[in-house]
């Protein structure tokens, strides 16, 4: 039987009076592209830090590829690569030196072939001998990804990797991460860009106040929670608002509805109310709506 890439069982963590994690249970299969979403302070980074051994949980257990992160920390950490949220770097070394050193920390010497491959994949080959201080923010972000990969970990955690990153780099990064996932790496992603999570992640967990409040495949979440939207441009916005719509901008009112069978009724009521329909726009369910709804219900 295949062990899960990540298993989190009843994990709790308290900082003073703040309950950062309040009994989190989670299982992520090998090869998944998994999204971990939640508002600021939901516990995402604490959970990732606990997986990485940077935070010691008060209760519960965490495993990476079947290895307990406390009792069997060496094997657990060898199976995990973490791209941290902050843009941190060691200013004393060049890119290649840093990657060689990081390999050495994981017990690997003579790792230049793999390092060259990572550098090429992340378009860093021409910067290999540059000191870290000389690199742009985007380049430093790529080096962080490279550092997380030097020991070829089966499980890779990306903690908001595209925060403050330009569009070109973001696209290049996702292309690379998708390839890693196709190659068999398990990817765990936290991001505030919900459209990225919707496009990339097969399953998603949503955290609020240290608890998992939703956990399902992306498709199921979209179907279970999300509503369609109807935006109408009308002559009499007040008449449309009286039917339960929300005025969004000049002359436009937005309605939420659960299925297309309700659409006809809604349009008929607008006509009856004399709203004066000029234009309509339909919106598909998206993860942002799901997220807002889940957070509102939790």
């Amino acid at each position: 039987m295949t062990v899960p890439a990540i298993r989190v069982s009843a994990v709790t963590k308290q900082y003073g009076t703040l309950k950062a994690l309040g009994g989190v249970d989670l299982e992520i299969g090998q090869g998944e592209f998994f999204g971990l979403l939640g508002p600021n302070g939901a516990g995402k980074t604490t959970l990732i830090s606990a997986l990485a051994g940077l935070v010691r949980p008060d209760g519960g257990s965490l495993e990476i590829m079947g290895h307990d992160v406390v009792r069997d920390y060496r094997n657990a950490r060898r199976n995990l690569g973490v791209v941290p949220q902050e843009l941190v770097f060691d200013p004393f070394f060049s890119v290649r030196e840093l990657l060689r050193i990081q390999s050495g920390y994981f017990g690997i010497r003579g790792n230049d072939d793999w390092i060259d491959e990572i550098l090429a994949s992340l378009d860093l080959t021409h910067k290999a001998d540059d000191n870290m201080r000389m690199l742009s923010g985007g380049m430093k972000r790529r080096v962080l990804v490279a550092q997380a990969l030097v020991h070829r970990p089966p499980v890779i955690v990306l903690d908001e990797p595209t925060a403050g990153v330009d569009v070109e780099l973001r696209q290049g990064l996702w292309q690379f991460v998708r390839k890693l996932n196709r190659d068999g790496h398990t990817i765990v992603l936290t991001t505030h860009y919900l459209e990225e999570a919707e496009t990339l992640c097969g399953r998603i967990a949503m955290l609020k106040a240290g608890k998992v409040v939703a956990l399902d495949t992306t498709e199921n979440l979209l179907h279970r929670f999300a509503t369609h939207s109807l935006r109408v441009s009308v002559d009499r916005a007040e008449a449309a608002v009286a039917l339960g719509g929300v005025a969004v901008e000049d002359g436009w009112v937005e309605f939420a509805f659960e299925g297309y069978d309700k659409l006809e009724t809604l349009l008929a009521r607008l006509r009856e109310a004399g709203a004066g329909l000029r234009e309509i726009q339909l919106g598909e369910p998206d993860l942002e709506r799901v997220f807002v709804e889940v957070m509102h219900r939790a």
């Binding site: 295949t2 899960p4 900082y15 299982e27 992520i28 299969g29 090998q30 090869g31 998944e32 592209f33 830090s49 990485a52 051994g53 940077l54 935070v55 010691r56 920390y73 060496r74 094997n75 950490r77 060898r78 199976n79 995990l80 973490v82 941290p84 902050e86 941190v88 770097f89 060691d90 200013p91 004393f92 070394f93 030196e97 050193i101 990081q102 390999s103 050495g104 920390y105 994981f106 017990g107 690997i108 010497r109 003579g110 790792n111 793999w114 550092q147 020991h151 070829r152 970990p153 089966p154 190659d183 068999g184 790496h185 398990t186 992640c201 097969g202 399953r203 495949t217 992306t218």
Partner: protein
């Protein structure tokens, strides 16, 4: 088990195998040595110049007026003290500054994520600190040699106290680097603890020149035993028995090592 988005069984990825035991420790040690070596002008040359200035000024003022242990010229007496002071201060500076810089810039995470044990972490930082202390100490000795008539009576004592002193201050530096959250806290540690204890340890004088009360007080300063024992290796004479000094210094090292390892093992301020 949930399926992947594509529904296919993913190929199994194995992490790279470690080449040899202790490679992680050796790499951290190498990185810590490389860190100070890359800025050797600041970390080695500057303290050597500092010690040389002390030597020139004190020897100019006192050499004709003071002799120690009967017939040892003051400048000759001073050199081992300056060497040992450099060893101690630079060992402390190395581990403490490396750790606080890594903590403040956040790159300490690169050392905390890999499968390094806290013992490997401790050993790498303390050995690197000791090596920097020894590098600077050797530099001071080499630069001072042309100015003084100095033999080494017992190199083993010299080496033993230099290594033990470096390791003690390296451990102290690890504690200070972990404890301090800001550079000024570290500076306070250095200026209000390490510097006075070093300066008042007999670097510049024999404690026999002090009033009885201050001689007794000096015996509560572990730095006195480090410097006195180190000096014994040069002259075969010292203010107190080298065996007593070795016992005190060894005891201090064991206590500090145990304290540092306990803090690291608990993850104090590193793994919350």
């Amino acid at each position: 088990m949930p399926e992947t988005r594509r529904g296919a069984t993913p190929p199994r990825i194995e992490p790279m195998a470690a080449d040899a035991p202790l490679t992680g420790f050796r790499t951290l040690l190498y990185k810590e040595v490389l860190r100070f070596w890359k800025v050797a002008f600041q970390t080695v040359a500057a303290p050597v110049l500092n010690a040389l200035l002390f030597l020139l000024i004190f020897s100019h003022v006192l050499d004709r007026h003071v002799t120690v242990y009967g017939d040892v010229a003051y400048t000759s007496f001073l050199v081992p003290g300056l060497v040992m002071m450099s060893v101690l201060q630079n060992a402390f500076a190395n581990s403490s500054s490396s750790l606080i810089q890594s903590k403040i810039t956040g790159n300490i995470i690169f050392v905390l994520l890999p499968p390094l044990s806290y013992r490997e972490f401790y050993a790498a930082y303390v050995i690197a600190a000791t090596l920097r202390g020894l590098f600077v100490g050797c530099g001071v000795l080499l630069v001072a040699m042309p100015f003084v008539d100095l033999d080494i009576a017992s190199p083993l004592w010299v080496l033993a106290f230099a290594v033990m002193g470096g390791a003690i201050l390296g451990s102290f530096g690890v504690i200070a680097g972990i404890w301090a959250d800001k550079f000024d806290q570290l500076a306070a540690f250095q200026n209000f603890l390490i510097l006075p204890l070093t300066m008042l340890s007999g670097v510049f004088y024999s404690i026999h020149s002090l009033p009885r009360f201050w001689q007794d007080v000096s015996h509560f300063n572990p730095f006195f035993f480090m410097i006195d024992g180190f000096r014994y290796g040069f002259f075969g004479q010292s203010d107190t028995s080298p065996w007593l000094s070795l016992a005190v210094v060894s005891g201090c090292f064991v206590l500090l090592a145990a304290l540092t390892l306990a803090l690291l093992g608990r993850g104090y301020k590193l793994r919350s």
